[in-house]
Amino acid sequence: MQNFTPISALIGGSLIGLSTVLLLWLNGRIAGISGIFHGLFPPRKNDFIWRLLFLLGLITGSLIYYFLPQIHFTPRTHYPIFLLILSGFLVGLGTKLSGGCTSGHGICGIARMSSRSFTATIIFIIFGLISVYFVRHILGVL
């Protein structure tokens, strides 16, 4: 557990919580990233710009990295491209089918005490554990 970073995890997690709370309180929307993304296609009137702007904010939010020297982050290199594309494909398809991802089901859904979200979260964590075991300990990709 030498990489465990509880303090930054709690600060970051609270900010994510702040974002979900503000979005529901002001805009009446659930901050589920896959849902916001999938709602872009096909574009609907009065339901497009806010999604695009939220995602744009999400993308640029990472620029805080340049303002806080405390954040240490070294991007990994040489990860197999095939795995990255397949991963994105399965995440896109899976979240579209199940109607949510880590944020929509795992945070917002569980906070609403939704039994669908509890079920989804337990299933994706179990399959995530199996998948990482396969990638790291059977395929040997690190």
Binding site: A9, K96, C108
Partner: protein, 145 residues
């Protein structure tokens, strides 16, 4: 104003993911790697986000409507169907394969991380396949289990 709020909420969300280092796909995989060098950080991120959301939602959902619009947009589905189970399983597999879920992948894009670009190519490709999957009726929403 509605759109400004959306942008700011995205910014806060993205900075939260960055501060907690969730944009580091290795860290996500370390959380899921219970037999290896396990890192429980993600659990702390989820729990703190969950607690803030849970408390906030409790107050907000007592109101008649949100501040800037006339109604709350909440999911209405209640049944646990095949689509939910199959979709969550596929998502979990994909999540583990590279260590990205949608939020961190978007935020990693902002730092120009190439891995996230490849991930997004896969995610966009899935948009074209979904209509075919729905057509085959794999786990149509009517099938309760």
């Amino acid at each position: 104003m509605y759109n400004v709020v959306a942008f700011i909420c995205g910014l806060i969300f993205g900075s939260g993911l960055t501060i907690s280092n969730m944009i580091n796909a290795n860290k996500i995989q370390n959380f899921l790697d219970v037999t290896g060098n396990w890192d429980p950080s993600l659990l702390f991120v989820m729990f703190s986000a969950l607690i803030v959301t849970w408390v906030g939602y409790k107050f907000i959902l007592k109101k008649q409507h949100p501040q800037l619009t006339e109604k709350f947009f909440l999911p209405t589905k209640k049944s646990i169907d095949k689509k939910l189970v199959l979709g969550s399983a596929l998502f979990g597999i994909g999540w583990g394969l590279a260590g990205y879920c949608p939020g961190p992948a978007f935020s990693a894009l902002g730092l120009g991380i190439l891995d996230a670009v490849y991930f997004m190519i896969g995610m966009i490709a899935s948009l074209f396949v979904f209509p075919i999957v729905s057509f085959l009726k794999i786990g149509s929403s009517g099938n309760k289990i």
